[in-house]
Point group: D2
Chain length 170, copies 4
């Protein structure tokens, strides 16, 4: 038993999702997102591979943040160099579910169909999704406004952390 | 060994995806899709639950078609009454991946975020997706035209079967 | 709606598990299991690959039985030639869960650690497991007698079908 | 880019597996295992629920260790109070695979069929398994000696860390 000592609180996990390949501009954006998350004490969770996933981890690590990468395969060594805690899901791209469901909010940076699947799972689970140049959804002629648009990296991080804590975002 | 007897060819599997709850009109549409698929010898694969999934299986069964339902949980008895071969995936909504990846083409009827995740996984895997009143995607201000729009149930089925066989659809 | 026509009952699914590589004797045993299952109207479900999985499907197909193969990857074409309904799980070896959870009983033929994981999941879910030259389990010095030992292929099939139907096996 | 600063090395992850319900003695054993792992700088990964999983996390937290819990469902709040980094796998008991595949070595404490499935997946992946009063396996009349027997908690931890680092254990 732990006596005379508070049980440590769980960390605040923010997922950052986006392509395994990305442009220089997207990588810079992701790196800034990672830095700003780490500065605010949030832990980055991502899919653990390259592109946006690597850049966001690099940013977080520069600011001494903790990074979790959930890779598709059986081998944690597939995680990029900036992942401190690699999780080998063993379930292929079903790991996309773990990436978003473990988080209190999700920041989507551009991204392809894999990112779209993650956005879908997050929204299905009522986990807030903040978008930076990412997918726009509509159905039956009506635009879906569930993805909250951010103006830049700092705005995305501030919105994500506020929403993760259950605060309203204006 | 099988001698003097050809190895039987694998069946043609077409996935039909859509909401676990749906309107009367959508159910009628799904039932027609199921009938038309079965008439052409295709096997229906779906998520095995209610709504669009149940209606499409009912349609297929009316025409004596085979129906496969991949349910999220551990118990095949969760499948609707019109599923002849229930698969209990045991992996929750990661079963969405199995539904589309097992198919040679996918027909999406309306649907919510679960359906969106299935569309995303299908497109990521280059499996043709035919849409009936379903999601419309755009990214970076450009509409994504990967979902092939069908006019009605018969059109959707004909497009799905042509694309499943590797034929071009005009 | 289906009028004047009974809803078709679901099929009886029996899982057959074992190594992707196997000896000639094991393949012959698996083929006989497949034949005997098909003769009794049961549908074979397996992991869809080679070895025991291929042999049991071949046996079932010889007797015009239906065979379902749940493969680990994203591509249903990975299934062996005797699988009529290939399911691409997309979740790697988590597909072992689907193989056993979809079945009303499981027959284990020899097998390695993959087979052991399937036995474990089946027993956890109270699905009867019948063993032919397979794993023997004990814990804390006590032998675990959950795996029902069969004497030969016919005995295994008869026990599996009886147990699948909820009958006691003496 | 990170300049003038070494990329941080990945953490050493040791999985501890065992029942969600356990005796007082097993809980004490698991707690000691957690303490000894944390003292040596290893990060504990487990299935995140109660019993052995909770006790090992409690032990690690007492020594200020990091704990990762991969829960079966969609909600990270299902993790026990001593999990600092909860991962919501969303894939049910397929999360057993992630628990062991993410680790460099596995310590099994007693446990039921779920634990057996984890042992099977670990051995299939050539990840060392150290056993404390856990399953004993045999096949075709021959005992399988893949599970390395430990005498007590400290012995288990020392063996796990040595094997995780690729050292031989006498």
């Amino acid at each position: 038993m732990i006596t005379g000592k508070a049980i440590p609180s769980k960390v605040l996990l923010i997922a950052v999702i986006g392509g395994a390949q990305c442009s220089v501009e997207e990588a810079a954006l992701a790196e800034t997102v990672g830095r700003e998350l780490a500065k605010r004490g949030a832990v980055v969770i991502c899919g653990g591979l390259g592109g946006v996933m690597e850049a966001v981890c690099r940013g977080a690590v520069i600011e001494s943040g903790l990074t979790v990468g959930v890779v598709p395969g059986d081998d944690p060594r597939m995680a990029n160099s900036y992942v401190k805690v690699p999780i080998a899901s063993g379930v292929g791209y079903a790991r996309n579910i773990a990436v978003v469901k473990s988080a209190q909010a999700v920041i989507a940076i551009d991204g392809d169909y894999g990112t779209l699947s993650e956005i879908a799972y997050a929204l299905k689970g009522n986990i807030p999704v903040i978008g930076l140049n990412t997918w726009v959804l509509s159905r039956n002629g009506q635009q879906n406004s569930s993805i909250i648009i951010a103006e830049d990296a700092v705005d995305a991080v501030e919105k994500a952390i506020s929403l993760a804590k259950g605060l309203k975002v204006g």
